[in-house]
Symmetry: C2
Subunit: 514 residues, 2 copies
């Protein structure tokens, strides 16, 4: 059924009710703008439904398992309940926010300020507004694996629907999503192998920082293969029941193909059907050589990057510029190449985290309301992988630092709290311009890294040079006291003569231990 | 044997090789000053030996118990080993630092720049220097409990020497030391009762913050009696073996005295002898009324404050001013009332934490070397109790805030990471001057509080007003993202008109949930 009526009119149409869209819609509604907020799927977007919330919830529930007394299936169910409660709250909240008209349906831009909304029953409504904000997010990239049945392969969109944990899970992709789930499922007893095509996991991190995470994950029993991709899947001769032993085959015989019978019917599952059968995954170099066969694989998590949801929106017809990967190009105000069409979040070329979507959404609110306001400086956006340990970065991550930059390091093992807490790995790295004290970038891999990187987020936003950190009294023995050790090192190395020598003996009793 | 020879001469004599004294000695030695560093007991002072290091180590080891597979006695032994390894490292390091002459013995000031050192064999040496720095620390205050055998009552000085955990431990004093140990021993299976004479535990905290810690400790099975002190101890009729049940007696019958037989001989223990017998502790109001009897008490931890080690140093004869509690009065440069005699750390009236001793030690170094340098502003010193959850404060802690101060609050339950991590209690409180944005004080009671208060330590040291925090991109979903919610609240409440409304919807999905 298709009907066309006079358009529903608002000040702003926001396409997508995830982290970016909700920020814009709520902010504008508080400024007394009428907002039409359109969502094709679940309110809350990836963050609430298949991202931050269920993944951090699973990390938490797996950390307190088995002491929680739950079965592994009940852990997954608890995560779903928590996620769904938040989603329901958001639907209720944003569905009743004055000034926000929340509509379910799929949107398509048909002209400047003109949007066609197709509702689930096929009804098409015309909507009109002075501005359109695109916040449609992204979806997981899927790479086909020869022979792997569709039901075997999940992404973060299906992972949290599993009725129980896999026995042997291969995670394709060693980025934050893949590694966080590696940690969580390994805690719940799943045997995990991570395949990463690049030569290090977490490729956005400095090699020494990524190496810390790798060592820790391996100590947690997680197998990691870098420079490795999945080539083909072969179902086992007979369906292996969950919980059977599995091993990486001898590479010498790994290339011999295993006959693959027709998989049996899927076992019915509480949430998502169990895969048709376990089998063997042949993995190897991206060039094609199979180096290992992983047997008894009963689930594959695909976590190899994101694809922006920029198609089917009518953007090309309107001339909205995309980059080569399909992401919408925006300027410092959040504007696309077409006047009065704005974009934020994963669908743009400006970063794909909830806090980035929020920060860019705030910019859009400002510039819709105050068009002549300058864009202003864009603060650094930190990034955190919630692995064990957490890995956090902000600013530049240069493998080689130029001569006018001092790279400062402190190992958590040389920090007193690290000593009392038996933290024998992990590091804080800070790059500071030698004479100005300007902080160019920082990396924290270790306990509470997400909190520690936040100190840098505040300081860098305010251009607080590193020498102005000197004199701060850091509470002892926190992990943050390590920051005082770094500042002392900077002052000792930078300030000549007596001034530098004042630095003296830091609170870090262990600092000269190695 | 007493002999007097020509004095050993140095630039500076530092009395006490704990946190403050080591800071001063190392800092001055790097400035090529010759330092005589005197220590009557263990190098490293309270922090290394009976304070921060063993207490945080025990908190860690108890948190990973019983998964660590150790016996409770082995946990205590592991803590001792860790502590002793650090002490040995410090003795080696500071005993071989160029410019530092580390001497064992008890010091007494006999004139300006003149110190008499009595070594353990009775040898007395005269030492002379241009400056003397007193960093003799403090010791636990001991309050007598009628009828309690000496061996039953320990302080932090003996606690870590126990050969196994008590069955039922009464902790007298609800400050940071007592409560941290309550958490650690409760995890190891000890039944704990905390007695606090004041009407709240952690009296330095805002009542609502202290109440968070109390609720959490009670959920951990720790009994807490505020407004309560120990009146008298009565040994049980027969020595109760460890592990027997114990209960607070019916208050109605609590006053009837229990006959106390002669205690049996002490049981030999691996480290510290076991107490002669368990017994009943009669507790009640500070006025004297017994309200409860705690049976089967087999250890009492006395944690009711600290006494400065300012006696027996010859200070009175030299005219060094003390306050009414015996602490050495120092000015903003760390000077006592007598020229060229300085003091830092617990023995002074300027705070008794390792980080405060360090900060004041650094000031003394500066002013010994550069006497005409101004003292400069003294940054705020944070304080952290490493309970579960941690409780951290900085700056003013006013129960009532004046009209020109805005008190901002965010509950961890309304922070998204709190939601995923099932944190249903805890709060961040910030007091901000309404128009200037100046931060007057902050309290964090919840996960990672020690790290979060450090953000305030840096900002307050640099007079960074709260409105300049606005625009910082806090990583989501960290606990630090809660700081962004507080800043949004401040901006919304403070900035009038459109500016304030920009704040919009924070990353905190839950913030309007309640």
């Amino acid at each position: 059924m298709t009907e066309r009526t006079d358009p529903d009119v608002a000040d702003v149409i926001v396409v997508g009710a995830g982290s970016g869209g909700l920020t814009v819609a709520v902010g504008l509604s508080r400024l007394r703008k009428r907002v039409l907020l359109l969502e094709a799927d679940d309110v809350g977007g990836d963050c609430t439904n298949v991202g931050c919330i269920p993944s951090k919830s699973l990390l938490h529930h797996s950390a307190v398992w088995p002491a929680s007394g739950r079965s592994t299936g009940a852990v997954l169910e608890a995560v779903r309940r928590r996620r769904t409660a938040l989603r329901d709250h958001e639907i209720e909240e944003f569905g009743s926010t004055p000034g926000i008209d929340l509509r379910a349906g799929r949107a398509r831009l048909v002209g400047p300020g003109s949007v066609e909304l197709t509702e689930s029953d096929g009804t098409v409504r015309m909507l009109a507004a002075g501005h359109v904000v695109i916040a449609t997010g992204s979806r997981p990239r899927r790479v086909a694996i020869d022979g792997a049945p569709d039901e075997l392969v999940v992404t973060n969109e299906e992972l949290f629907e599993l009725d129980d944990v896999p026995s042997r899970l291969v995670i394709v992709g060693g980025g934050p999503i893949g590694l966080e789930m590696a940690v969580a499922f390994a805690r719940l007893g799943t045997r995990i192998t991570v395949l990463e095509a690049a030569d290090q996991i977490l490729p956005a991190l400095l090699p020494e920082a990524a190496a810390v995470v790798r060592r820790s994950l391996e100590r947690q029993g997680i197998e990691i293969h870098t420079g490795t991709v999945a080539h083909r899947f072969e179902p086992a001769a007979s369906s292996a029941p969950a919980g059977t032993s599995a091993a990486v085959a001898d590479p010498a015989v790994a290339d011999s193909p295993v006959p693959g019978p027709t998989p049996p019917d899927p076992t019915p599952g509480a949430a998502l059907p169990a895969p048709p059968a376990s089998g063997s995954l042949h993995v190897g170099s991206p060039g094609g050589t199979v180096t290992s066969v992983i047997d008894d694989v009963d689930r594959i998590l695909m976590a190899v990057g994101r694809v922006p949801n920029s198609g089917d929106l009518g953007l090309e017809a309107l001339g909205v510029a995309l980059d080569t990967t399909g992401r919408i190009v925006v300027d410092g105000k959040g504007r696309t190449s077409v006047p009065n069409i704005w974009a934020c979040g994963d669908v743009t070329d400006r970063g794909g985290t909830t806090h980035s979507a929020n920060a860019w959404g705030r910019r859009i609110i400002k510039h819709i309301v105050a068009p002549i306001a300058p864009a202003g400086a864009e603060p650094e956006h930190p990034a955190v992988a919630y692995t064990d340990p957490e890995a956090a970065t902000i600013g530049e991550q240069r493998v080689e630092v130029p001569a006018d930059v001092r790279r400062l390091r402190v190992a958590f093992a040389d920090v007193d709290r690290g000593y009392t807490d038996e933290v024998d790995d992990g590091v804080i790295i800070v790059d500071v311009r030698r004479f100005s004290g300007r902080i160019l970038g920082a990396t924290v891999v270790g306990p509470r890294a997400g909190e520690l990187i936040s100190v840098f987020a505040l300081a860098m936003k305010n251009d607080l040079p590193f020498h102005k950190w000197y004199g701060t009294v850091w509470p002892y023995p926190t992990y943050a006291a390590a920051l005082g050790q770094l500042v002392d090192d900077y002052m000792t190395a930078t300030v000549t003569g007596v001034g530098g020598e004042f630095v003296g003996w830091a609170r870090g009793r262990l600092r000269r231990r190695r």
